[in-house]
């Protein structure tokens, strides 16, 4: 039983926790419920969950506050925020605050389970994820996340804000395959049908600016009909 995944489910809506917890249990997770950020911090310290699934709007301490507090304590338990992040500024803020992923309500419960598994696959127990590093380095490419500047072979390159966000996201999750739809929903915040052209355009911009050949990519690989993957090895700076 020791390697069973322990999910801490944090939401003030009893209707959600009382239905979602049994569902997650039926998916072989061990589940505990906390009703707000303060209770969640206490449970995180005493129960040591493998992953925290957390609503944002809650009394006493909300999801973002809980997450900030957790990271300040150098606790790198993966967190999935259940939120409707509407404006793209908020979206990047959610990513900056060290959430490992997030999902809009209402969501398909099965989708939550697959997100939980994906986050756990990429996280290293106890270590901050690359996505939380202040500087990301891949060969001669470096991304300074605090100043939001990208350098290629020692020279700063100019990118549109969305291309910057996309590069940051991909570099923070190297080796993972990201579908266009998922990138669109996460970074653009809209998942209208057939709007994935937006993603392709920004990838094209990144390749042009970074001098990356789509046929023999150094950085971003197109996975036929599936999506994109950052192929270079990434380390923290």
């Amino acid at each position: 039983m020791t390697d069973q995944v322990k999910v801490l489910l944090v939401d003030d809506e009893e209707a959600i926790t009382s239905s979602l917890a049994p569902y997650l249990e039926s998916c072989e997770f061990e589940v505990r419920v906390a009703v707000d950020g303060i209770a969640a911090l206490a449970a995180a310290a005493s129960w040591r969950p493998t992953i925290i699934v957390c609503d944002v709007l809650m009394p006493r301490l909300d999801g973002r506050g809980m997450l900030r507090e957790l990271r300040q304590q150098d606790d790198w338990t993966p967190v999935i925020l259940l939120t409707t992040v509407d404006a793209s500024t908020e979206r990047s803020a959610a990513l900056d605050e060290g959430a490992d992923d997030y999902l809009n309500k209402p969501f398909d419960p099965a989708e939550l389970v697959s997100r939980i598994r994906a986050v756990l696959r990429r996280s290293v127990v106890g270590a901050p994820p690359l996505s939380a590093a202040t500087r990301l380095i891949a060969g001669e490419l470096s991304f300074d996340r605090s100043s939001r500047r990208v350098m290629l072979a020692g020279r700063e390159v100019a990118l549109t804000p969305r291309a910057l966000l996309l590069l940051e996201y991909l570099m923070g999750r190297p080796g993972e395959l990201h579908s266009r739809d998922q990138l669109l929903a996460t970074l653009w915040g809209f998942d209208f049908p057939a709007s994935t052209r937006a993603v392709d355009h920004r990838v094209a911009e990144l390749r042009r600016v970074l001098g990356d050949d789509a046929g023999r990519p150094r950085f971003i690989e197109t996975v036929q009909s599936l999506g994109y993957r950052f192929v270079a090895k990434v380390s923290r700076g």
Binding site: E13, A15, S19, T84, D86, A87, P106, D108, F192, R197
Partner: protein, 306 residues
Amino acid sequence: MKFRQLLLIALPTALAGAGAAALLVTAPGVTLRITTSPLALTLGTGVALSVTVAIVVSRRRRARKQREQLQQLGATQARAEHLAFLARLDHEMKNPLTAIRAALAAHGTQGSPHLEVAETQVRRLGSLVSDLRKLSDLQSRPLECEAVDLGETVNDAVAAVQTQLTQLGSPRRFSVQFPTAPWRIAPVTGDSDLLYLAIFNLLSNAAKFTTADDSVEVRAGEADGNVWVEVADTGVGIPEDELPQMWDELARATNARGIPGTGLGLPLVKVVVERHGGHVGLRSRQGAGTAVRIELPTSPGSLRQR
């Protein structure tokens, strides 16, 4: 106000003129001695008159402008309230919907036709709520502006719609006429992703309300610092009395009932175009077809950044 001012000049002049005329008629022996020269008198009256007219016209214009601004402010306010309502609706519905979905998933729906209905419908409700949210999100999200070549946008969107239609086994004839002479259409300043979304929606709408025998024409032109793009089809058309509501959320023409859709396509187009400082227009005749036109300014001056 303006009338009184006019009268202030016109009345004394008319009275003096009438008095002089009366004197001339009733007492022919009387000599009228006008000390001011007729030229100065005419000039003075003229100047006074034109100043009055100028004041009146400018006041009238200002009043109209104020009225228009008030109307616009009212419309903007109504729109903002409407969007706030959509946001509240989304906020109030997302938790119950999440709970229902989780409860159904925990229980399992397989084998129970009733629960399967419940699951399908809650899914539908969920996507409706998220579509409404996307619409209000579009209203407030920051625009990422660059020079956008609408010809390229249209070509990409036509290709995407055609691919979808071909997969469904029902391609359309699209004819795209973007003028290239005497010069290509000027680029517009805008958010290329959103403009693509708007044009894609127009095309997929046109495809939705036509059959393989119909034709869809996409044309464009430039006038008065605006670029317009029109998507016209020979499809089912919209009943005349329903035309004014077609830009409202969830509005669907009565003759569109059998055709899948959310009634959010045109409102989305309108939101995107208006955020770019442009206008939308719709012409349609039931049984003949529909033309939707969007007009976008080429200069970025009227962008509505929030």
